[in-house]
């Protein structure tokens, strides 16, 4: 799942990978898509953000859910803005699991989101509106 974002030379799987469910549970690797320095550094180091908790009743995250991630030795909260799992009709599915980091105050860490985000997130209100403000494209 996360092998795409890790340099091939460092880590090469020697065992077969069966088709995955691509569910976002604990220990799932996620990709930071805002322009924060923290996310950029973590990606360059080859140690992407790891999901520690999903703020959700069933423990499986979907689009719009809040997660707790471990990134560069820190605990950070983040919102899921695009997932790899199979979606319902009219809902986009992305090639990676995308998150946007937020501070404890609810303010997004970065200022801009680099990838398109699903249009149905525009129906969300409250904490999410700050993230929508820094989105560049909707799909």
């Amino acid at each position: 799942m996360a092998g795409r974002f890790i340099p091939e030379l460092l880590f090469k799987r020697q065992f077969g990978t069966t088709p995955l469910l691509n569910e976002i549970r604990k220990m799932a690797r996620l990709r930071v898509v805002d322009n924060s320095i923290l996310g950029r550094q973590a990606e360059l180091e080859g140690k992407p953000a790891k999901c520690i908790h999903v703020y959700n009743k069933n423990g499986v995250g979907t689009i719009g859910d809040k997660v707790l991630v471990a990134i560069k030795g820190q605990k950070k909260r983040a919102f899921l803005v695009g997932v790899r799992q199979k979606q319902k009709a009219m809902v986009p599915r992305f090639d990676s699991n995308n998150i946007v980091l937020i501070e404890d105050s609810g303010q997004p860490t970065g200022t801009r989101i680099r990838v398109p985000i699903p249009s149905l997130l525009r129906g969300k209100k409250g904490e999410f509106s700050k993230i929508l403000a820094c989105a560049t494209k909707f799909v």
Binding site: E8, R114, V115, P116, R122, G123, K137, V139
Partner: protein, 299 residues
């Protein structure tokens, strides 16, 4: 003697009934044949009138043009009346929305009404990588790379929120399903949102794009080497010997020649002609309505 002979014939007929396409599905179901008999029975108080099939012969390309009108071949789910009602709904929707013909491999632009978008509509452009289902359940998937990230959206063809279906480029690929584009270079699935439509002359054969793509490094989304794909090359570079042997072991080359299997999983010609002639008749009817409407608009 004659009585015995008749008894013998009768036994053969009963024998026939349990095989002749009217096999019982489960212990608590009716035979297909008996249900059909009751629907048209003389003794019934609201019996169905026998409908004469339309005399029109559908054009030959209709089978490829309208594959979604052919029902699911699973005999456990089939029923004559359900299919008829389903077809009626589809034709009604097609009278409102223009659905052009397209195949996996052609490039589409779909406009959907979206309650959250500023203009209350949303447009997406992409290559059709799969077409699944039949009847009202028909769906297709579009893929595009936007801002260096692959995006796929599944659309239902008969969803009432679809406003417009545009075919920007009508063509086919070597395979029916192009899920392998997920593991190929992103430039092969990148399409401009402001792309201008390529005109396809009416009546011309549909061009086949015989491009063969090189697959990217592992890990892959699926086991492509076990799928007999024509549009992909360079799979062997990424395989180990063990995997090659396993692929040989699990391959089922004889399945291609199992003609009774393909017969059972498909709808035979007589039946598809009957269905498509109905569609053709309705299309002609709709055309006439349109022609009649034109002078009304002038006034």
């Amino acid at each position: 003697m004659s009585v015995f002979r008749r008894a013998l014939i009768a036994s053969n007929i009963r024998n026939l009934e349990c095989y002749c396409g009217v096999q019982k599905r489960f212990s608590n179901t009716l035979f297909d044949g008996t249900l059909e008999k009751h629907r048209r029975s003389e003794l019934s108080h609201d019996r169905e009138k026998t409908e004469s099939f339309p005399p029109f012969e559908a054009p030959k390309d209709y089978k490829k043009k309208y594959p979604d009108f052919l029902p699911n071949a699973d005999w456990k789910k089939r029923d004559r009346i359900t299919e008829k009602l389903e077809r009626k709904d589809m034709l009604r929707r097609r009278a409102v929305l223009n659905i052009p013909e397209f195949y996996p491999g052609s490039i589409l632009a779909i406009t959907v009404s979206d309650p959250y978008a500023p203009g209350k509509y949303n447009r997406f452009v992409g290559i059709c990588i799969a077409k699944n289902g039949n009847g009202l359940r028909t769906s297709f998937t579009l893929r595009n790379v936007v801002d260096n990230i692959g995006v796929e959206i599944l659309y239902e063809l008969y969803n009432p929120t679809i406003q417009k279906v545009e075919v920007l480029k009508l063509e086919k690929r070597l395979d029916e399903e192009l899920y392998y584009l997920r593991d190929c270079d992103p430039k092969y699935s990148t399409f401009n949102f402001n792309m201008e439509p390529v005109q396809h002359p009416p009546g011309a054969p549909i061009p086949v794009n015989d491009i063969v793509l090189k697959i990217g490094p592992r890990p892959w989304n699926q086991k492509w080497h076990r799928q007999n794909l024509k549009g992909v090359e360079g799979l062997d570079e990424h395989l180990r010997e063990v995997e090659k042997k396993l692929a040989e072991k699990t391959a089922e080359p004889w399945e291609k020649y199992d003609i009774m299997k393909t017969y059972r999983n498909s709808i035979h010609e007589e039946e598809s002609e009957r269905i498509l002639s109905e569609v053709y008749e309705k299309n002609l009817h709709n055309q006439k309505l349109k022609e009649n409407r034109k002078p009304l608009k002038m006034d």
